[in-house]
Structure formats: C-alpha cells, structure tokens
C-alpha cells in the first residue's frame, strides 16, 4: 500500500523514529535504560534526539521515562505491592530517590498515597453507590 502520509509529510519518518523510541521507553521502562542507546537505535545524535523528543512530547526522554515509571508505580501501589518492591519493579535502584520523585509529582509519599488509594478502593467495594452519580444509578436500577 502506498504510504500517503509519507508523500504528504516528507518528515514523517522522523516522527516514526521518535514514536518508536517512545514506545520502546514505555515497554522497557523497568530496565536500566541508556537513553544514548535509544538515540542510536533511532538513528539520531543524542542532542538531536532529545530536541525532537521534547518538541513532540513536551518532556525530555529522561523526564518522560521518570513519568512512565511513576505512573507504573501508581498502578502497582494500587494493587497493594509493598513500596520497596514497587521501587525495584519500576527500575529504581534507591528507595530514597524513588520516594523523593514520587512525592514531587503526587505531593504524597508512596506509602501515604498507597494507603489513600487502598482506602478508596475498599470504600468503592463496600459502598459503590458513593462513587456513582445518583441519576445514573437510578436509571440503571442500582
């Protein structure tokens, strides 16, 4: 099939490389990633790669990797995984740097955040009606 986008947007190949790098970070965020290697894989100089990545996603690759890790940490914490295990599971080597970054982003320590979310989850199970606008609950006969 002819690539009509490539004909319209000659620089689409640059986007594709940046997107591939982003998807690579998404998939391998828990590993020790060398962003210079990702730039090489994407056939860019490191500087060029960082500039294009930031122009596309509003964050440097490193900032983006940290955001992905914290998002993943939130998912694991919600599942009840202990903070220490979460820290290593998302690719951090040190609890203190993980906790500091987590707190900077969410305003709460990982354990306080986890406690709040687990409480909310428990309430969602015991009193689900509290989480549903009444009109919808009534319309569904709940």
């Amino acid at each position: 099939m002819p690539d009509s986008l490539a004909a319209q947007y000659p620089k689409i190949y640059l986007y594709r490389r940046v997107v591939q790098a982003k998807l690579f970070i998404d998939e391998h965020h828990a590993q020790s990633l060398n962003l210079g290697n990702i730039a090489n894989e994407a056939y860019f100089s490191k500087f060029h790669f960082i500039r294009l990545f930031k122009a596309t996603y509003g964050k440097t690759p490193h900032q983006y990797l940290m955001a992905v890790r914290i998002n993943r940490a939130q998912v694991l914490l919600k599942q009840g995984m202990p903070v220490t295990e979460v820290c290593y599971a998302i690719g951090f080597d040190s609890i203190s740097s993980f906790s500091a970054l987590f707190k900077r982003i969410t305003k709460l320590s990982p354990s306080a955040w986890q406690q709040k979310e687990l409480q909310r989850d428990a309430e969602m199970k015991s009193k689900p009606r509290n989480f549903i606008p009444n009109c919808f609950a009534e319309m569904n006969g709940w």
Binding site: I12, T56, Y57, M124
Partner: protein, 137 residues
C-alpha cells in the same frame, strides 16, 4: 450558572474490551471501577491531562435503561459507527497518529489539514468515532 462538564457517557459493547482500548491503547486513567453486582459495573476513565472529566464507559445491556429491543438496536447502531462522541486533543497529531496506529487503533481519516485545523478520525473498539485534533501551537 453551569460551570463545568464533569461526567460524559460513551455507550460500549463490552466493558472489558473498552477498558483495554481506553486504558492500554489511548493511555487514559481509570477513575472509578465499581461493581454493583454481576454484570453491573460503573467504569469511568479520564484523559491523562483532564482528571476532572470522567468518561463513563456504559455497557449497553438489557435492564432499566434499555429494554431488550432497544439494547439490540443500540448495539447495532454503535457497531455500525453511527455515533461520534467528541473531539480529543493532542499536542502533536502526526506522532499521536503513528503511535495509535502502531497500537492497532483503526483510523477512518488520516491526519488532514482542514480549514478549521489539523485532524484525524478514529474509532474505538465498539465503533464509536472521535475526531482527534492538534492543540494550536
């Protein structure tokens, strides 16, 4: 005076599949996932940068909201792509298009420069369609 929209509903054919589409493909966050009993689930997601707007993924099921015939008609209409539920925004349309395509999202219109802006159209896993526009730079 009305100040905000905080809930909006999208009717879906299957909530598990919709969860996968909106969370794993589009990257939305789960806001509330509450079970009201077998087959009764209140599931809402939020766009990553709009945590205050809950999108309720409503199952089309026979019940108080839909009689059996109405549910069947609604399922037909949704799966045929009758309903367009809104316009999503992204910072970079070409990059978002490439990413969603790579994740298997079906587009019915490639990114196109229109007089009103740069847009593409895609469908969710049920058949609901959305416009995807690029934020003005």
């Amino acid at each position: 005076m009305i100040t905000k929209l905080n809930h909006v509903s999208i009717f879906v054919l299957d909530q598990d599949s919709a969860y996968d589409f909106y969370v794993n493909k589009l990257g939305f966050k789960v806001h509330t996932d509450a079970s009201m009993g077998p087959g009764m689930r209140w599931l809402t997601v939020t766009p990553p940068e709009q945590p205050e707007l809950e999108i309720s993924l409503m199952a089309i099921a026979e019940g108080m909201m839909f009689k059996a015939e109405a549910a069947e008609q609604m399922r037909n209409l949704v799966s045929k792509g009758t309903f367009g539920f809104g316009v999503f925004e992204c910072n970079d349309l070409l990059a978002t298009y490439e990413e969603l395509k790579a994740k298997g999202v079906e587009f019915t219109k490639e990114p196109t420069r229109e007089f009103y802006g740069f847009e593409a159209l895609f469908k969710d896993d049920s058949g609901n369609w959305f416009s995807l526009g690029e934020k003005a730079k």
